[in-house]
């Protein structure tokens, strides 16, 4: 709708001065353009100052030998930082850590909010509104406190293990201290923040026209068929949106292990996430050029992944508004 030139349909212009089809703008269109630029100017300024220029600067850093203390004079080092990156086993190990966690976390991060939203949206559920508030609550728990709570809950003698013993698992794992169970443990901590995702999913479910369900029922579709053939296709843009944001987020994941393990990567390097490694390179080792190179590698991975996902989405995501 917004594609229509509003000016062309407004009858307040002097007819003689219209030049439809010409590349040059009429005075009115020029005024509209000027106003438009003015309104978006805060973002343009912010984009230049906080995104574009810093990005260019970081890219330039990758070809220099900048450190915080700068004991050697600054000079152009060509692709040295990239060569070092290629041979840095710590970098690749930390990337593997991030990918391993992503493999566990991403499916959970999409399915759990979706299923919770389905339940909250059901007309059979009593007290949906209070449950929504309660599910959102952990999302606002201060970060450090949240980490400490989970450190306790996931401890060898914590509540989770007490529950597991009660259910008959006599020897439950030490979660965050165990190299195998540390990722499921961290995923459990992350599940706590799904409140926002539940709301986004709920919003999507509310947006599905009820006629579609009525039509499906006319055709004899049961609960499962309706979910499979109406809800999931109609929700695919939202699920895709959650996936894309989830990928970007999980690639940058590091704060929880930073606080819980003090950045040591314990147990056995399993919590040395890529971004943790990156921030340590910046702030602990203060190697700015090398850190910048690592940041660009992360950016490249994020970009490549989202491009692939967008490609795939053409086949799997259904946009109702599309022609």
């Amino acid at each position: 709708m917004d594609q229509l030139p509003a000016i062309a349909t407004t009858p307040i212009t002097a007819p003689g001065r219209w030049r439809i089809g010409s590349l040059r703008l009429t005075p009115l269109a020029r005024r509209e353009a000027r106003q438009g630029y003015l309104f978006i100017s805060p973002w343009i300024v912010g984009f230049l100052a906080f995104t574009a220029l810093p990005m260019i600067a970081t890219l330039a850093f990758t070809f220099l030998n900048l450190t915080l203390t700068q004991e050697d004079p600054v000079r152009f080092v060509g692709l040295d930082n990239y060569a070092r990156l290629a041979g840095d086993s710590r970098v690749w190990a930390s990337l593997a850590v991030t990918l391993k966690f992503a493999a566990i976390w991403l499916p959970v991060s999409i399915v759990v909010p979706f299923v919770l939203a389905l339940a909250l949206n059901s007309r059979f559920l009593l007290g949906s509104s209070i449950m929504r508030t309660l599910l959102f609550m952990p999302y606002v728990v201060p970060f450090v406190a949240g980490a400490l709570i989970w450190n306790g809950v996931l401890g060898q003698e914590g509540w989770i293990n007490t529950a597991l013993r009660f259910l008959g698992w006599s020897d439950p794992p030490a979660w965050l201290l165990d190299t195998t169970f540390v990722y499921p443990g961290l995923a459990l901590i992350s599940i706590w923040g799904v409140g926002a995702g539940v709301i986004v999913n709920l919003a999507g479910l509310r947006g599905i026209p009820t006629e579609l369900y009525e039509a499906a029922r006319m055709d004899g579709a049961g609960w499962w068929a309706q979910l499979r053939h109406v809800t999931i296709p109609m929700m695919s843009p939202i699920l895709f949106y959650t996936l894309i944001l989830g990928v970007i987020e999980v690639l940058q994941y590091f704060l929880v292990p930073l606080v819980l393990k003090n950045g040591t990567g314990e147990p056995g390097g399993t919590t040395l996430f890529y971004n943790l490694n990156l921030y340590q390179t910046f702030f602990t080792f203060q190697e700015w050029s090398y850190g910048a190179t690592m940041a660009w590698l992360l950016f490249g991975i994020a970009l490549a992944t989202t491009l692939v996902l967008f490609r795939l989405s053409r086949r799997y995501v259904y946009y109702a508004g599309e022609r």
């Binding site: 978006i40 973002w43 984009f47 728990v141 947006g207």
Partner: protein, 360 residues
Amino acid sequence: MTAFAAARSPGAPRSGPRLRPEILMRRAILTVAMSGVVIAFLSPLAYSAFMSLKTEQQISQPNSPILPSDPRTFDYQGETYDVYYVPMPDGSTRELALVDKGRRESEFIDPANPAAGPITWDGSWRTLSQPWQVAPQWQNYGEVWSAIDFPRLLFNTVALAVIGTIGTVVSCLLVAYGFARFRYPGRGLLFTLLLATIFLPAAVTLIPTYTLFVKLGWVGTWLPLLAPAFFANAYDVFLIRQYLLTIPRDLDEAAAIDGAGPLRILRSVVLPQAWPVIVAVAIFTFVYSWNDFFGPLIYLTGHEDIQPVQVGLSHFNGIYHTKANLIQAGNMMTLLIPVILFAAFQRVFTRGIVITGVEK
């Protein structure tokens, strides 16, 4: 309703009352199951609440009760003694107060009958376990309140969140309006560029931005956290723009004919119709700012008086190594405001996202 009944059981007679038990059943199962999920989901909060009321001694002691408790004590002749479960030679167990600790044998007093005098028991008192009694340590809250200047931290958190939210809402509304209602060369490209910034890992821009703030002398002030909020961000601009596109232009145009400028139209025509999305963006921003840990950590470390609770609590963690009870007390106090806010506005909030979601 009838269509639904037909779909469920095609051959069954469609009498209304026969459906009731089935619906009640579904209601009961789903509600009970979801209550279970919610309880499991919130149980760590209960853990936090209990922890905030415990003594440090109890937290460090394995096999202590779940509820905040104290070991039971008994006052005898002006002194306070711990009570223990003592197995007696006849096979019974009595609760006795330990008055004189010895390695091989100890003296106990029976709280039920102190006049009977000391009872000597053979064995090491260290092997005995203690009865506990529920004793919430409400003073933990008072202690947090004064020990880390909690009111100050809370004020900082609120001020940062409020200023940041105002900046975000105002700037994003202006920019979204600029993208939704005006035509100009390069608009599509600029909008794509805006959305692309969502995919940019923060680390890519961190060091130059940090250096910029150092050069400006802003590190150790609130400016690095607040200034960027006034220059709009991709998520919120996108959300507001999508919403504005659903508002018909007729009123805008009518106002324009009456001679209203774009700012006037935004304020008097568009804004009153855009409340749901404004509230949604405001709450999201507020909660995000409330929870921001990394920003204050890198820009405000070493400036305790201007830190928000988030970072203040972690300092607390460093200073008093194992005072987990006090951290949780601080946590409980910090939680209150965002939860109330969400509960109060959740109707408008979800509506704001619903409508933008539909139009995506």
